[in-house]
């Protein structure tokens, strides 16, 4: 069991309140996912060729200052913002090159996401603990994708927490379980994918991203996923300007959507939506199985 939450605000003035509106949604899914949680938030894009990299280091005594000096020396126009175990590095250097360098020089630092808009946080602990550790209530942006995890098929570690990312400005969270993650991952590894966790969801995330890179629309990519994925899933996905939701044809895993003129909010259960402003007048509905729902900023 896991919990998923998503929120997209339609009015620019609500972007300031994105985190504040989301935190009770995440905490509402504590019983579905008490062991880890995570959040991908999409912000205003960084300018030009700059990219943001969300970083995680489990070591509380990690020398972020020394790391900052090293990136300053090496990369173009970098800036680093550190919060607890988490850092956001922004630079105009090629993100693939930066990622490779971090992997070689600082293997204890994990790159959680890359993009012009995405910031990503994930860690073990109750949702309320993770939300407080990374100050989720202060997050601002246009839309977000969050998850609370109850591990079923891989260990409780920060790497196995959701959301997962691939490429730039793409993320996915999962409620459910896949029975054939090994074959999904092996087929992608033959195409050059590298996996950073034991979690089945990373296979799904990289599979759908691979299809999108091959030119599929999201609908086409998910139609192929229905053929190749054996298992249960409700996936919530984020791109630079969209949230997308899909449930498997058996719809074993729940989801509910509340939409008003101000926002669209998605959660595994209504209890995560009950606090949202004017939710009593929202259009509340359940997504149908095997149908792709998406909302644009």
């Amino acid at each position: 069991m896991c919990g998923i939450v998503g929120l997209l605000v339609k009015k620019p003035e609500l972007r300031e309140r994105l985190g504040e509106l989301m935190v009770p949604m995440l905490i509402g899914m504590t019983e579905r996912g008490p062991d880890s949680s995570g959040m991908a938030v999409f912000t205003e894009p960084v300018s030009g060729t700059r990219r943001k990299l969300s970083l995680y280091c489990a070591d509380p005594h990690f020398g972020w200052q020394q790391f900052e000096e090293a990136v300053t020396e090496r990369f173009e126009a970098p800036s680093l913002v550190v919060d607890a175990n988490h850092g956001v590095l922004t630079t105009a250097s090629a993100p693939g090159h930066v990622r490779h360098w971090i992997g070689a020089e600082y293997p204890q630092v994990h790159v959680l996401s890359v993009g012009r808009q995405i910031d990503l946080y994930k860690d073990v602990g109750l949702p309320i603990e993770v939300a407080e550790r990374y100050h989720f209530s202060t997050l601002r942006g246009t839309h977000l994708v969050g998850h609370t995890r109850m591990a079923t098929e891989s260990a409780v570690t920060p790497e196995n927490a959701h959301p997962y990312t691939a490429g730039e400005d793409w993320c996915l969270v999962h409620n459910g379980s896949l029975a054939n993650p090994g074959s999904i991952k092996r087929n992608l590894e033959k195409r050059g994918a590298r996996f950073e966790s034991d979690c089945d969801t990373e296979g799904a995330c990289r599979y759908i991203h691979w299809r999108l890179e091959e030119g599929d629309t999201l609908e086409q990519a998910l139609a192929k996923a229905f053929e190749d994925f054996d298992g249960f899933f409700t996936f919530l996905m984020g791109t630079h300007d969209k949230l997308a939701l899909v449930r498997d044809p058996f719809a074993c895993k729940p989801a509910v959507i509340a939409e008003t003129d101000d926002y669209v909010a998605i959660a595994s259960e209504f209890r995560s939506l009950a606090h949202l402003p004017d939710v009593r007048h929202a259009k509340v509905f359940e997504p149908k199985p095997a149908e792709v729902y998406s909302w644009s900023v």
């Binding site: 058996f250 729940p254 509910v256 209504f270 209890r271 509340v284 359940e286």
Partner: protein, 236 residues
């Protein structure tokens, strides 16, 4: 909404789940309700297991959306949800009446032995799965695999039905007004008899939903699965 209550009826007992715990409410509902006519539940906010296992002729009004397993296993009670219901609504109800004004998620009325479940909106997947004698009236559509292995009871579906309707059905009977995406193994469309017209008319009247009974078709068991046929090669 107009509520008709006897002049001498006691005032409704109100539980506000924003301030009171679900456990307080359910313990109250499991106590002596002989002097209670109506219990109103405010701010349910999707809580699970509201009003489960109530065995008393009491009316429970839930003002908002309920989470998993609302009104499960009830006997004699009337539960009215002014909102939507999560998975497992009225699961295994024994008697009484459950009514939801919006949609009900998966597994609504699963294994219900008696009583009437009315869903004014759509029902999700597996509605009335393993039905054992209860009646269900759905104002909208039902999702896939509804009435799977349903043994006894009736389901009136005013909208459309999804995949595999009535798969491996026993003696439950389904009445469908709209389109059926596919029938499950051993389920077949059967002629509507005068008794079927009467059944649909009375169930719709009990639910307060208006459609001519003549617009419904009957789905029941072809009874080919009752006996194992080794030559069928798993094809029915």
């Amino acid at each position: 909404m107009v509520r008709v209550m006897a002049a001498a009826a006691p005032a409704p007992v109100v539980y506000d789940l924003a301030r009171q715990s679900l456990r307080e409410l359910n313990q109250f509902l499991h106590g002596d309700l002989s002097k209670v006519a109506t219990v109103r539940v405010e701010n349910p906010d999707g809580a699970h297991s509201i009003a489960v296992a109530v065995d008393a002729p009491v009316r429970i009004e839930i003002d908002g959306h309920a989470g998993y397993y609302a009104a499960g296993q009830i006997k004699r009670a009337t539960v009215v949800i002014n909102g939507n219901a999560g998975p497992g609504l009225a699961e295994n109800m024994m008697s009484g009446r459950v009514e939801v004004s919006g949609f009900a998620s998966g597994g609504a009325g699963a294994s219900a032995h008696g009583g009437l479940l009315v869903i004014r909106g759509d029902a999700g997947l597996r509605c009335g799965i393993s039905l054992k004698g209860g009646d269900i009236v759905v104002g909208g559509d039902v999702g896939s695999f509804s009435a799977f292995m349903a043994q006894e009871g009736r389901i009136v579906i005013c909208g459309n039905a999804g995949e595999g309707l009535g798969d491996s059905i026993y003696e439950a009977v389904l009445y469908v007004r709209g389109a059926i995406r596919s029938l499950g193994a051993d389920a077949e469309v059967q002629p509507m008899t005068a008794a079927d017209i009467d059944a649909v008319t009375s169930l719709l009247a009990a639910a307060g939903i208006n459609h001519p009974a003549s617009e419904f078709k009957r789905v029941g068991s072809a009874r080919k699965l009752y006996h194992w046929n080794a030559d069928a090669n798993q094809e029915y």
